[in-house]
């Protein structure tokens, strides 16, 4: 499913996988009500780890990220998502937090060249792997052709969903430079816009494709 554009998914351990695994082992899944601590949870599951497994956390640990071709260092708790690492610790706020549970697409970034929901990937799982965010695509002074097509076709109003749509569309054009309208719909169906800018987005993505607008 990874190449069809939906739904973007981490090839590694997602937050949902993490929570599911934890709930099976202990009580973290109900932690909000039960007040269970992460420390107790880890102790309970520690004997089940395979030999040689590196144990990190629950305290902050150093991580190194490769984002838009640059290296960033941060010291973060293992429970911090890639989205929160980008936004709160690395000042890369293009990816937005909207649903925070992998269903709206506003936090779409590329990990290993594929679109993922950054809210549903743990930062520690993304460390060391190539990450591309909207900030790496183009600048206000030098827009990427796809971004220019979004501007020309007014494919944004409030703009809060826009970086996610741009990254989802970029992923589509990277693997399919000449998509049909149905393929555009399919690739962007994991993202939501509330202002209703889909008409402009359709035109923008098709125009960028026609103009060879992906790099």
């Amino acid at each position: 499913m990874a190449d069809d554009g939906k739904p973007p998914r981490s090839p590694g351990l997602s937050r949902r996988d993490f929570l599911r695994g934890s709930a099976a082992a202990g009580a973290l899944g109900t932690g909000l009500l039960a007040g269970a601590s992460v420390v107790d949870e880890r102790k309970a599951s520690a004997p089940r780890l395979e030999a040689g497994t590196e144990i990190v956390g629950p305290g902050a640990v150093p991580m190194t990220f490769r984002i838009n071709g640059k290296t960033f260092d941060a010291v973060l708790e293992p429970r911090v998502t890639l989205l929160d690492a980008l936004r709160d610790h690395l000042d890369l706020t293009g990816a937005k937090r909207v649903c925070d549970r992998g269903s709206c697409g506003a936090c779409t970034v590329h990990l290993d060249g594929k679109p993922v929901y950054a809210c549903s990937v743990l930062a520690i799982e993304a460390a060391g792997r190539p990450i591309a965010t909207v900030e790496g695509l183009g600048s206000v002074e030098r827009l990427h052709p796809l971004q220019a097509a979004f501007v020309d076709n007014d494919a944004q109003q409030c703009g809060f969903c826009t970086p996610g749509f741009v990254m989802a569309a970029k992923a589509l054009l990277d693997r399919n430079p000449d998509p049909s309208l149905d393929e555009v719909h399919h690739a962007l169906s994991g993202n939501f816009c509330r202002c209703g800018t889909y008409a402009g987005m359709r035109r923008a993505v098709l125009a960028a494709a026609k103009g060879g607008g992906h790099a």
């Binding site: 706020t93 944004q156 409030c158 809060f160 209703g196 800018t197 889909y198 359709r202």
Partner: protein
């Protein structure tokens, strides 16, 4: 400010279409590049040094009394810097997820951990959340009856009568940027707040009152905001609490709502249900109307939707009842009360057309005389919509939508709105280097306010867009109204036009002697100040502003003010083409046509975007949006994007937008646009579904379940 005798009297008006280089053209929004690159900094993206993260402890019950609240353990949790009770022991909670306590900590994770350590106990009280069942409501507030003529007599005399019951549920605003703000005390008396708000000028005063400092000590900043739709006018209690936490902690605090509270407590368009009876003469003339409606938007009940909508039959009677519920309070939702009034009214009128065996387009045309002063506009728009949809060729009587399981149908609706420009003050400065800047404390919600102000300023000064700057979204600029009621474009374009014309008049006074003429004979065009009658006698813009010396020139403009720059009252017509699978109940939008008037258009591109966006938001509430509240627990069930369904890019079909402009439209001045086109989609789509499947699906959203329910009696009849 002393009056200057040498300033010529300015005649405030919009330039004629033939003279416009920018106004009415298709211009890309100026902040588009910042948005597509992620460099636009929203409230949610703001991160002052040392910022703390706030978390709110919320009541899980729809109606309860707080009996115990203990913050002591939470205060001892790692990283916690401040904690406050909001609804302490004895407080009565009126809706689920209302705030009980709030705290701030050094990381969001630490704040979440600490919020779990807050101890709250409740006495659960009985709740009522099912207002559609008016007969079971413990409290019904009946409104005044509105009546005209002789509704009973006219109904009895009508050749054809229909009766129907219709309903439209509570929906959420679901702003992608959640409600919230970041508060920082720059010293003990002065607060800076980055707020996701539609009303920068007004929110400062509310925050000031909440924290007990003079309003002049509060600075509010909103450079970019991620959607409001009417739900972000207030500082809100969480805003005041954020400021209090920041003061208590001695550090900036960020408090943004998570998605579940955003959907549950921060957005609520009231529901509306109605029983309607309509009577008509055999030729389709509507002669009698009788209806009662009811609805709720939380503890305060609901406002009265305009029923009958657009059409005012000579003999009519209507009463609305407001029902308090234990659900979060209503907030204005694009064109408050109109989508409800339109859906209820136009559904009944389409049912009447069916009873009369008339094409609804013919019925609407027949009754245009009772739509009032917009009758001519509606008539012209219906003709355009007819052509764009191919209605005349493609419409078929109800239920004749094809032989297979997928039935096709057409529906239409029409709407109105006011939209006169609000109070606005603008300050225009022309700098000695030739730059020009407009400053005003308005806000750009994504509607294109920045771009509209820049277009008006550049057009007035005869400069290219790139030569002007717009500064807004900061209480340090002159006060401008909140962005509600589609009043912003009229307000800011008028205040900017007047300020720019005033600035130009001062510049002309300096330039006239240089050109050997008088100021009233000058014009600013194409980067020059020149003599109207002999354009070869000119100064370049730089030469003209050079006459200012080293001091910039600043002039102000306000709305309301002299000259008819803004107006009120627009009309719009929409048509929907749908396919409905009668085996699955799934409704697909094939095509929507929107024909809209808004007086003088400043930016055709962003104006069209408002209408496209309205169609899409309308498709969304017509097909899938509803805040589902569990009657047993009183809790909203669908508090995420998986279960509160928005239309996606593949769900909206072909969209056609036509803006009415030119003679008869432009000369009225600028009128707001953001709300009117979102009124009609619910009715137009529901009418198209009725036309397709042969029966009325009386309640929005038109989910597969509701479609199949409506079809069930017909199916039973066939199989019996």
């Amino acid at each position: 400010m002393p009056e200057k005798d040498d300033t010529p009297k300015v005649e405030y008006r919009w330039p004629e279409a033939k003279d416009c280089r920018l106004i009415g053209k298709r211009i890309s929004r100026l902040d588009g590049p910042a948005k597509v690159t992620g460099s636009a900094k929203y409230t949610y993206d703001t991160h002052p040094a040392g910022m703390l993260y706030a978390k709110v402890v919320r009541c899980p019950h729809a109606h309860a009394r707080v009996t115990k609240l203990d913050l002591s353990a939470a205060r001892r949790m790692p990283g916690v810097r401040a904690a406050r009770a909001i609804n302490g022991p004895g407080s009565e909670i009126q809706w689920a997820l209302d705030e009980v306590a709030v705290l701030a900590a050094t990381s969001e994770e630490a704040a979440e951990d600490a919020a779990r350590a807050v101890v709250v106990e409740y006495e659960v009280l009985p709740h009522f959340v099912t207002e559609e069942q008016i007969d079971r409501a413990p409290n019904v507030k009946a409104g005044e009856e509105e009546a005209a003529g002789d509704p009973e007599g006219a109904m009895a005399a009508a050749a054809v009568r229909i009766k129907g019951r219709y309903g439209i549920p509570v929906v959420a605003h679901n702003c992608l940027e959640a409600h919230g703000q970041i508060c920082e005390w720059t010293d003990k008396d002065n607060l800076t707040a980055w707020c996701s708000t539609q009303a920068v000028s007004a929110v400062a005063g509310q925050l000031a009152e909440g924290v007990g400092v003079p309003a002049a000590n509060v600075r509010v900043i909103t450079q970019y905001m991620g959607g409001g739709f009417g739900s972000k006018f207030s500082a809100d209690r969480w805003g005041v609490e954020c400021a209090r936490l920041a003061r208590e902690a001695g550090a900036p605090v960020k408090l943004m709502l998570e998605r579940a509270p955003e959907l549950t407590v921060a957005g609520d368009r009231p529901s509306a249900y109605a029983e309607i009876e309509v009577g008509a003469a055999a030729d389709g003339t509507i002669t009698a109307w009788s209806s009662r409606s009811w609805g709720s938007g939380g503890p305060g009940g609901s406002g009265s939707p305009p029923v009958p909508y657009v059409f005012q039959p000579p003999n009519r009677r209507h009463r609305h009842s407001s029902i308090p519920t234990h659900k979060a309070s209503a907030r204005a939702w694009r064109a408050p009360n109109h989508p409800q009034g339109c859906f209820l009214t136009l559904s009944a009128i389409e049912d009447l057309a069916h009873a009369l065996k008339m094409d609804p387009l013919a019925l609407v045309r027949k009754n245009l005389p009772i739509t009032g002063k917009l009758a001519k506009v509606y008539g012209e728009e219906l003709a355009v919509a007819d052509g764009l949809m191919g209605w005349k060729e493609r419409w078929h009587p109800r239920g004749e939508g094809g032989k297979g399981p997928v039935k096709q149908g057409l529906g239409l609706a029409l709407h109105t709105w006011g939209g006169r420009g609000h109070r606005s003050n603008c300050e225009v400065t022309i700098y000695p280097d030739g730059a020009a800047e407009a400053k005003l404390c308005s806000q750009d919600l994504g509607t294109g306010t920045r771009t509209v102000v820049a277009i008006v300023l550049a057009e007035t000064l005869g400069l290219p867009l790139a030569a002007v700057k717009v500064s807004l979204g900061d209480t340090r600029y002159p006060t401008s109204g909140g962005s509600g009621g589609s009043t912003t474009v009229g307000g800011v374009s008028a205040s900017t036009r007047r300020a720019a014309q005033n600035a130009l008049a001062e510049l002309f006074a300096k330039a006239a002697p240089e050109l050997g003429t008088t100021p009233d004979l000058l014009e600013a065009v194409d980067g020059t100040v020149r003599v109207k009658a002999s354009p070869e006698h000119k100064l370049t813009w730089r030469q003209a502003v050079g006459l200012l010396g080293r001091t910039p020139l600043t002039a102000s403009g306000a709305n309301p003010g002299p000259g008819d720059l803004t107006n009120s009252g627009v009309g719009g017509v929409q048509m929907a083409d749908v396919s409905v699978d009668v085996e699955t109940g799934i409704v697909r939008i094939n095509k929507m046509v929107a024909v809209q008037d808004c007086g003088l258009i400043i930016d055709l591109k962003t104006a069209e975007s408002q209408v496209y966006g309205s169609l899409i938001m309308g498709i969304s509430y017509a097909l899938s949006e509803e805040k589902v509240t569990d009657p047993v627990t009183g809790i909203m069930l669908n508090t995420d994007f998986d279960s509160y369904k928005l239309a996606g890019i593949g769900d909206v079909g072909e969209l056609v937008v036509h803006m009415m402009s030119g003679p008869g439209y432009d000369e009225r001045g600028v009128i707001g646009l953001a709300e009117p086109p979102v009124v009609s989609p619910g009715a137009a789509i529901a009418n198209a579904v009725a036309n397709a499947v042969g029966v009325r699906v009386p309640y929005l959203p038109l989910t597969p379940e509701r479609v199949l329910d409506a079809l069930a009696p017909a199916t039973d009849g066939r199989t019996a």
